[in-house]
């Protein structure tokens, strides 16, 4: 199997069949919290893509060159949290100086992502699945795209739900939770479909 086929399979898997939010149920906090408006959820999604790609690369390197040689693989979780937190902090500072425009649009979401379990999840899954460096980075990016897809779909639904005439007990979060459940159910349709 050529490398492109493998990468394509990983991408399709990360975006649809094993969508981080709707199938793996990782990163539910921003999914419910930042999905009230379409444009903010898009901003959040872009920030997640960015951080997940960087975190995949950094944690893969740390694991491969530090934890495995010292046979400290059982410390993955705590070390990855440290790496991701430091990385996000650094990126935030760098953006504020170098690209103020990007900082303005991503800035408020970046700290929110630091301890997001979708980001930690992608780092741990890379190791679990035994991905190479390139595969890890692609999995990180496409996992982020899957996150963006889910949150953008969901926020568009919620914007419409705002105006609907529903019983008072369902208004707001109850209805949003039901909608999230139905959306997750629809993504079940992709499961069981194996790419290559």
């Amino acid at each position: 199997m050529s490398i492109f086929v493998t990468l394509f399979a990983i991408s399709l898997n990360a975006i649809l069949a094993e969508n981080f939010i709707l199938v793996k149920f990782l990163g539910i906090c921003p999914f419910m919290g930042v999905s009230k408006k379409l444009d903010t959820s898009l901003g959040m999604g872009l920030a997640v893509i960015f951080v997940m790609a960087l975190a995949s690369a950094a944690t893969w390197a740390v694991n491969e060159f530090l934890l495995v040689p010292l046979s400290l693989a059982y410390m993955q979780t705590v070390v990855f949290i440290l790496v991701i937190a430091a990385l996000v902090q650094f990126v935030e500072m760098f953006l504020q100086k170098a690209l103020p425009a990007l900082y303005q649009s991503l800035g408020i979401y970046l700290p929110l992502i630091t301890t997001n379990c979708a980001v930690l999840g992608v780092a741990l899954l890379n190791i679990q699945n035994g991905y190479t460096f390139l595969e890890s980075v692609v999995y990180g990016i496409t996992g982020g795209i899957g996150f963006t897809l889910a949150i953008v779909l969901f926020s568009s639904i919620r914007e419409r739900l705002e105006d609907c005439d529903c019983p008072k007990a369902f208004k707001g979060f109850p209805l949003a939770l039901i909608a999230a459940g139905l959306l997750a159910l629809s993504f079940m349709g992709f499961s069981g479909f194996k790419v290559f």
Binding site: V62, L66, L67, L70, S71, L72, M75, V78, V79, L82, V83, A86, Q89, F90, M93, F94, Q96, K97, A98, P100, D163, D165
Partner: protein, 275 residues
Amino acid sequence: MEKILYAIGVLGVLGAVFGGILAVASRIFAVKVDERLPKLTGALPGANCGGCGFAGCQAYAQAVLDGKAAIGLCAAGGAEAAKKMSEVMGVETAAVERKVAMVKCRGQHHLPKGRYEGIADCRAAMFVTGNGPTACPSGCLGFGTCETVCKFDAIHVVGGVARVDADKCTGCMQCVDVCPRKVIVPVTYDSDIVIACSNHQRGAYTRKFCDIGCVGCHLCEKQCDYDAIHVINNLATIDYSKCVSCGRCAAVCPRQLISDSNLRTDMDAVPAMHR
């Protein structure tokens, strides 16, 4: 034993290295923030109502700092915020006239045109039924879109008509912008004379659908010694630069439209709806 030492060592070294990198980075990438900016932001109420025309309090503070905006645009913060901001910027305080929103309609005395059962939102009602479900083309629809946009709990629909609580109103004018019929207008807080109708129909026609709307009878205009009130396009209109608040027009109005009580009515004392 060795393994524990390795674990402690790796985590400790990683932590120290990251800490060091971040410390250096914070120096290298330090962005100079004008120390006046947090002070300016602190002087503003922080409600992010958007009444000043900027994206939020922070954006307005930045614009003032850059000299792109004048001090005193913040209606919610009023004179106090303007004073604090002037001190920070080191300029003279400009007096700010307090403005509040006022609903130029006294309620659903006007007849309905048909039955509307759609989304309870004035903007939606205006779309569906072609200029709204009331026979009066300019009266308050009473679905409370203004109530939902108000961040200060200052406007409420009582008995089918929106009423402003002038003491709570900060003058951000979000309700003015959102009202699809433009029934809500800004007025000076101290106004003694206001006109609570925005109907421009002819008197004979107005009588058919509303028993408290302005009919353009010109009685107020004849009473006024200061040339301050005129019936323009079938609706009494006050020129506040000339008005001295003598109240003679209010006394003579056959429909009791002209009074400061329209601005400062006790919320409970609103006339009941009768269709």
